[in-house]
Amino acid sequence: MIEVQNLTKTFGKLKAVDDISFTVQEGEIFGFLGRNGAGKTVTIKMLTTQMLPTSGKVRIDGYDPITESLKVKKIVGVMPEIQNLYVRMTASENLSLFAKLYRVSQNRVRELLKMFQLEEWANKLVKTFSLGMKQRLLFARALLACPKILFLDEPTNALDPQAADFVREMIKEINRQGITIFLTTHYIEEAEMLSHRVAIIEKGKIVACDTVERLKKDTVGENYIKITYKNLEETKIPSSEISRLSEIIKGKEVSALEIEKPTLRDAFISLTGKDIK
């Protein structure tokens, strides 16, 4: 569905995206994980006709975003990181405007307002909306033209837990309907929870790209043994080093020993050398 080959974007001397390649299969949720400034938004912009790459090749369902931008625009929906809504218009007017531009019926507008629980707020000005409601409206707008591929750029950023959960549930629901989802996030747990495959981007380069399980297995092994000492200090050792356990805890007062499964965070730290935050 999405093919990216040797994609690069430079701004002067800065390489925002550095020779990245990956593919996204039809119907999958592809997590694009990285710190702030790693190159996630620039990549999305290049994939969705908003920015020209310095070099490299991109195909979106077989179309080139540079030369066939109109065809690409018709099959993708984008929920941007910034809340770019017409704040002096109502929710309904916002969706209606874009529905007209996509030549979509007004029934679709009503359908989406209902789906995103915005019916009661349909005729209220967007400037009176909470962050979560604006995010839901952005999500609805991205789905207006029934896209084949949905790009979600940090969809739960700065949302309260309840609103973030709603958005995550909607992502799962939309994917169940067969829409391919390209999800950028810096919330590791979110990527782990939602994605079928994850690419980790660090300083413009993709350092790993695989299923969540395989990333964890290939980078940090299968399980950890977590040792908690009485002074509340903690140590983790790979389960393969269990023979060294007695040597490690010798002379120390241990309060608990637990076997833990590795997380995507562990894989991220192992791959990039530091935590995401």
């Binding site: 969705t48 908003q50 531009l101």
Partner: protein, 345 residues
């Protein structure tokens, strides 16, 4: 075309909702008052071309030359009238051919002054000067002195051309950039629009059309309120207004697109707007300024409006202004397209 109309409808609805048109009309009234009285300080000796018709004592002419460098002697009253009507002179002095004979037989003949009131910056000081000069000559030239104005232009119509031109500049350099900045940097909705089947050129055209419609509606309103809808050649006037609006709007749009921050847009467009306004207002009052300002689109807009409104010029008589404005339209559209596409890279 459908996308342009959808965006245009959205812009009109939005401007009516947030009240910017009301603010604009208020600003327009303030500026028109300022223009009426403010720039008279720029008036300088030698800038008015006057026509003198029929014989007049050489001493009087010499005295006129101390104020007016540019004196033309017309062969007939018709020729003098024509020069005033076509805007080639701003003041004519009609002296009866038998002036001296009539004075000799003890009559008090009439000297007529025909003034082009569409040049309010000159007229007051010019008339005052001529009156004072005639006072000095009252012993050898005991004359009556009457003043008539060009056509049927009323007092409220005197600054109509300036009012029209400046309102267009205000829309192009204040209202339009603010509207684009709002979409581009404040609400960031431009990026959302460009993700739909709307192209960059459609977005630009919708903004240009919005500004043009606003200017046309505003100009027609001004003309109707001033009872001047049929004062000049309305078809030529509307053509000049449409071309001029598209052209200056293009420059305003360009500034908004290339500026990185909203504050830079506001300041830059205000500076460019004021420079262009001044070039349009002041150019006819100095030959050097006129030559410099010829390259500015505002000059052609101001002159085109004046010619079509007050001098009833036909298409053929304003073709240079129309062509210059057309050229600027092409340049500004092309520059905007490049600027908006450069934003992508």
């Amino acid at each position: 075309m459908k996308n342009i109309l959808i965006l245009l409808k959205k812009d009109i609805k939005d401007s009516l909702r947030n009240g910017e048109i009301i603010f604009f009309l208020f600003a327009l009234v303030c500026i028109s008052i300022g223009i009426n009285y403010g720039p008279s300080i720029f008036r300088q000796k030698g800038q008015t071309k006057i026509v003198v018709c029929a014989p007049i004592p050489s001493e009087f002419i010499e005295l006129l030359r101390t104020k007016f460098d540019n004196i033309v002697f017309a062969k007939s009253a018709e020729e003098a009238n024509l020069l005033i009507e076509k805007g080639k002179a701003s003041l004519a002095i009609f002296v009866p051919p038998d002036l001296l004979q009539r004075i000799k037989i003890g009559e008090k003949p009439e000297i007529k002054l025909l003034v082009d009131v569409t040049r309010p910056l000159n007229i007051v000081s010019d008339i005052t000067f001529i009156k004072k000069t005639l006072e000095q000559f009252k012993d050898i030239l005991p004359v009556r002195f009457t003043i008539s104005t060009l056509g049927n232009i009323s007092r409220s119509q005197i600054v109509l051309d300036l009012w029209l031109s400046i309102s267009i500049m205000l829309i192009a350099f204040f209202l339009l950039p603010q509207n684009i900045v709002d979409e581009k940097s404040q609400q960031n909705t431009l990026s959302a629009l460009l993700l739909t089947p709307v192209s960059e050129s459609q977005f630009l055209l919708s903004k240009g059309l919005w500004a043009t419609l606003l200017c046309l509606a505003n100009s027609l309103l001004i003309l109707v309120l001033s009872n001047a809808l049929l004062l000049g050649r309305i078809e030529v006037l509307l053509l000049v207004i449409i071309l001029g609006t598209i052209c200056v709007s293009g420059i305003g749009t360009f500034v908004s697109i290339i500026s990185e921050a909203p504050s830079i847009t506001v300041v830059t467009s205000a500076i460019i707007g004021v420079i262009l306004m001044m070039s349009g207002v002041l150019a006819p009052y100095s030959e050097i300024l006129e030559k410099i300002c010829w390259v500015f689109p505002s000059y052609h807009l101001f002159i085109g409006i004046k010619k079509s409104l007050f001098y009833k010029c036909s298409f053929l008589e304003v073709w240079t202004n129309v062509v210059a404005l057309g050229g600027w339209v092409a340049i500004s559209f092309w520059a905007n397209l490049i600027a908006i596409r450069r934003q992508k890279s």
